[in-house]
Symmetry: C2
Amino acid sequence: MQSITTRQFLLKSRWGWSSLSNSGLRFQQTQTATKGLDEYNKPEVITEVPGPETKKLLKETDAIQNTRAVSLFCDFEKSKINYLVDADGNKLLDCFQQISSLPLGYNHPAILERSIQSAAIMANRPALGSFPSKDFPRLIKNSLLRASPSGLDQVVTMACGSCANENAYKSLFFWYMRNQRGEELPVMGDEAFISCMKNQPPGSPELSILSFDGGFHGRTLGALSTTHSKPIHKLDVPAFDWPTAPFPKLKYPLEEHERENAEEEARCLAVVEDLIEQWKDTRPVAGMVIEPIQAEGGDNHASDDFFRKLRNIATKNKIGFICDEVQTGMAITGRMWAHDYWGLETPPDIVTFAKKMLSGGYYFSDEFRWKDGYRVYNTWMGEPIKLVLLEKVLDVVKEQDLVFQAENTGHYVVNGLRQLEKMFPELLSAIRGRGMFIAADITEAGKRETFVKKLLQKGVLLGVCGDHSIRLRPSLFFTPAHADILLDKVEETAREMRS
Amino acid sequence: MQSITTRQFLLKSRWGWSSLSNSGLRFQQTQTATKGLDEYNKPEVITEVPGPETKKLLKETDAIQNTRAVSLFCDFEKSKINYLVDADGNKLLDCFQQISSLPLGYNHPAILERSIQSAAIMANRPALGSFPSKDFPRLIKNSLLRASPSGLDQVVTMACGSCANENAYKSLFFWYMRNQRGEELPVMGDEAFISCMKNQPPGSPELSILSFDGGFHGRTLGALSTTHSKPIHKLDVPAFDWPTAPFPKLKYPLEEHERENAEEEARCLAVVEDLIEQWKDTRPVAGMVIEPIQAEGGDNHASDDFFRKLRNIATKNKIGFICDEVQTGMAITGRMWAHDYWGLETPPDIVTFAKKMLSGGYYFSDEFRWKDGYRVYNTWMGEPIKLVLLEKVLDVVKEQDLVFQAENTGHYVVNGLRQLEKMFPELLSAIRGRGMFIAADITEAGKRETFVKKLLQKGVLLGVCGDHSIRLRPSLFFTPAHADILLDKVEETAREMRS
């Protein structure tokens, strides 16, 4: 047991442990959720980070490709659940987990075992759209369909998140044009067949996808045209001339700024309606795409009410509604899908996924299903081994109640950070989160990189987003015990930066 | 030994076995290349294809997603090298190999073994651009760099072929704009940073990629704007307004139509030059993308001279030259890369790959390397396990001289098909190939589907391409013995279709 710090004392006295969960019993369970899992007790930093071995590897790699985005090199064999061991042997509490890609952390025994049992599947990668394995229908039922969002019973797999969004946009355009024509394809001999081969309308229609300032949906040319998080992603790349709406800029904590936040959301919704109207005669909006929480763009939240109204605008205007859950999906927000919080009357038309789902892809309603072959297609179309592993991930998530744990531990972390915010307002502000999908702003301009580096030196690895935010994307086995380590190290760092 | 058929007799007498290779000794070797590999002796069809089990699985899968492109369901456990076993137990000589994705066929023991040894790597998929494994530099050297095209010592991995091309285009735009500006990024505060966030020039520049009629480069929105093989891939999807040049429509066999083919190629080259000039003031051509043999579009060939001249046009106009070797790469054409045949003075600027390389990605010259981080980036950026397997594939290809074997067996197959073409001109025409990258036209309109179905019923699985062509994309272990089975079955089918 660790001794009780000031922060923990404040936490205890203000909320009390039991109020952090709906049930005292369950909270006990989450505290012991990594019991039985082989893990390290605490971070241990034995060199500067990055250390000499990392620097050597960086130089070697840089001869082959640009390495400016490389943070460190991993020793995956030695890494355990929440702890990443780097090439220099430093044990880091990893709150970022390969950009939110590892649902159960490093080397979870069930996933390791399943990988070894299923290794042969790796040796024969199918062209999944034409020659799937005889196990495929069973596999997809036991993996993706077990996790499917309410109302969406169709699903296709893709290799990554960008491809998921690109193909979701295509599905949406097919649906839109089918509605225009009243049938899936034009009649044979129609001009559309000829003009599309030259990238010209009517075959290549001038339609658009409406997206939001600060949104991130990938970096291939279609997806990138809907990405608006940072100039470095977009600069010098030709883009589709598609409309961009403002995403609400809310004040945190949300519950303390309800009225002004509602006004800001109303303003954004009005712009969305205006844009749909304005673009009708040039490039009609066929659909919109939005993240439940804008991640790369800065962990920007909006209210459930905003999303419900947005969905209704889409329905009213007969345009598609794509919910990009590439980063928010798979339990981390305290729901299997973040949009489960919204209480929608009509589900999203399409929900895209990747990262913690291990495979890219998207769910969609029957109405968005295309009728002809080869319209959404490519050689690999994802990969069955990912579904084999996903099946096991879902078993563990269910058995260990990890969706609930994410919500529960999330409250604990947010409360802890809010205490630190009060103690160090010059460093931390705008603490926000849903489940363990948590972020904070670094108050003082230009201090983020120092903060993140200092924390790394103490053995805690965070992600960043937007211009001045830090983000947590821990594994689903991140417990209050891990949170305490994180909060202690943040407090230590804050004190150092103050002095 | 099989008895000698008419076709084999003709083959023997016209070319003689020895002339099929550069060295009689080596030809002996290729005949026995599958010795020691566990394989079936011949196709065996025990049900209608598709059989009852396949039909059941098709119905099950169709409840979840469109299955119009599904040919059959595979029993991967029972499949061996060149033989695919389907869900009904039919053993098929697979000349298509998961759309040309399996270099060494099904369940090659070395690949199986490596998969099992390396299974743990599957359990910890890294965010490769930021947190690679400490083995990564070694791994990339032992895999991709061993196969790198001459002159291209930089490489990045991507999840699939479409992403490879999308990011190659981006690299090309970065290079082009750097040349315009004289530096990697505009000065801070430049209008480009603001305008790109709204998809507007100058930050999102109006540049284009020149592509070719009949070309195929993928189905995401950027890649799809350079794809011009079939309307069904493009219809209803917004596209970039980019120029398309004619690809030479040559007469086969190439060696018998040299003069008229050269005229056709000169015509196409002139159009390329015109287009570059014409687009200068609207959407300048930043580069061009071309396949060494247009695959999906119909296995359309052009001469080495055509490609040399095209490359020179790119150099002269200071635009980039991307060679899309997604389908032609990795030995199947009788060279590691099909463009190795061309004898270029200046290598391509970028060579993209996927399929038989197991990972997507692209090679590029140092000049095309971007200087800043995150310009070409995504969460997964391919996957290390693919490189682990690729390393083993390259070992086997080298040890067993499979590049040479592809060239050699390819001559044998082409010669065999040309004999059949003489015997059945109403069925087969325009036999063409490089190595085992071989195709033929089905002469009589509308007969292709019947031909392919009949052949499948006899246990031979082919691919199709273009409107009326069939294509072979066998494993690198396809030998003259397998070719004999293929040719026999084609002959049988041709006789049946005539009667």
